[in-house]
Point group: C2
Chain length 342, copies 2
Amino acid sequence: MSARQDPPSRPTIIHVARAAGVSKSTVSRVLQGDTASVKPETRQAVARAIRKLGYEQNAIASSLRTARTHTVMLIAPDIANPFWSEVTRGLQDTMEHSGYSVVVGNGDWDPHRESQFLKTAQRNRFDGIAINPTIIHCRELRATGIPTVILGIRDGFPQIDMAGSDTYRGTLDALAYLYKMGHRRIGFIYGRYNTDPGYARFQAYADFVKRNHLRADSSLIVEVPFDRAGGERGMQTLLSLSKPPTAVFASNDILAIAAMQRAAQLGVKVPGDVSIVGMDDIYPAAMTTPPLTTMAKQKYEVGCQAAQFLIERIAGKAPREGRRCVLPCRLVERGSCAPSRG
Amino acid sequence: MSARQDPPSRPTIIHVARAAGVSKSTVSRVLQGDTASVKPETRQAVARAIRKLGYEQNAIASSLRTARTHTVMLIAPDIANPFWSEVTRGLQDTMEHSGYSVVVGNGDWDPHRESQFLKTAQRNRFDGIAINPTIIHCRELRATGIPTVILGIRDGFPQIDMAGSDTYRGTLDALAYLYKMGHRRIGFIYGRYNTDPGYARFQAYADFVKRNHLRADSSLIVEVPFDRAGGERGMQTLLSLSKPPTAVFASNDILAIAAMQRAAQLGVKVPGDVSIVGMDDIYPAAMTTPPLTTMAKQKYEVGCQAAQFLIERIAGKAPREGRRCVLPCRLVERGSCAPSRG
DNA sequence: CTGAAAGCGCTAACAA
DNA sequence: TTGTTAGCGCTTTCAG
């Protein structure tokens, strides 16, 4: 019939120490699994006390002392895009496996939020940061003093680890696929945000045009934001050209799917009238009509690899210079492309 | 030409105090926006010092003292399902608005991970927990001593706030819709995990059958796990019945979409041969062929509402008893249902 | 309005 | 193998 304490505050290491008849240092040692320097019997007594009191370590206090939080922050531009969900899963699974928690910061294409998250990471002394920067620069990242990994392959971030896909090569291959099908007038729905994102695709497109001596027609490139509306607008613009393209490459699947839907609304047949190829291979890509042909990225794996880099860097086991892990893309042929009827 | 310090440790409140020529208490007061008890001039001097040193508050130390972390944990069973992505976004947006960070725990239908996350929340002294429990019981939740909100409406959790959808009513309405189209033999792909999830749908189905004097045929109910394979197997089973149903209700869209795909593989026409209605209205539901008719849930709003509850409870501004916010479902008619040809 | 001092719960030398 | 001690950086009485 014991009444509960009024302040139901959790027991501390001191309570455990008292209950076990040892000092708090000893309890601490047991907690840290310092099996070498504590007698088995003592260790058992402590374990018993811990169980009896329902003691749960206070990670805050521990962190203050050790300056390690075992928490990392992931900053992605758009968690609603299944692409980032997958990357996140890969990162989380790997980080958790090494005892880290992951705080997800959803940038939502908002530059302000992005830097806000960086501040949060700093104030909370997170052990690491994984980010796909849309506006943040290398300087700011380095200024945090926190080990960082970039999700994606970017220029302008020397000395920072990067894990991503070979978007340049993937874009090239997607275009080559279209070319092989006889397409010579290929539109490009160019998703873009700020300076960096999506630039590799642009370069690849430009290089492809030059290399194959296609007519450089800037009206074939439509720059849009990375969302559904962007994809629709992109397709609309392309189709209303006096001489519309016979095929279209879109920066990602969100854009491609939206483009396909707009085409359908406009009575333009896919792939009969226009072929479409996307990039990423997100979950919904397989369920559209026709199913979307797309350049698949290894999303989950990118997350895992990024986590690996981060873990090593936090442990100080990484070389000074930035490392890159570039995973190849792979064409997934489904039903949105057909030979040119030109 | 000043060389960087060897330990690039961040400046503390003490450095700021020295630079501003005041005591650390004063700095602390300024930091907390205690505008009442510090002279404007002093406050400015402190502000200047903070800026000059690039000081960033150490949230860890602060948390140790105040026992507040401004961090909550979200535990969802399956982040890969766009349903949970949306709920998460709602929760995050609202929590962040009130200064909280959200740590996402992806349970992945793994009971072990679920309780692991609970431990993490405890050790890190998170201020709150938002969870859709698959295995965890009320007792364990309460034992954490952390303010909690349940995502979804469940029995067996008195005194805990809940925000979710009216799944029972939604299921009833979905079935009524099918009934009105003339369907009398309605299959049920019953997603299930452990004791609780999805039970409201089962009850609704049973009640519906009874109320409309339909023949109670247990072979029309196929219990499956909440994943794609489950949906495929469910449909397969239903279609291979000697007398297959003319319509099917699936516990969620993941299941419904998979069921539709399996039907197509089997040469069974949707909605010609069999009508299908799902639940949730996730993003891909609009892009299938035919587009999926489904009972939409207010995902984002559920997240927001849960956050609201949590914020109030953390602030101690919530009544002792558990509150519920039950958001209605809404039928989204697309193309996967047709009148029975019976 | 400001400062001095006492901790929050834990870890890590250093002694014993 | 164990205990003692000194903080980690901050908040919060309590004096002044």
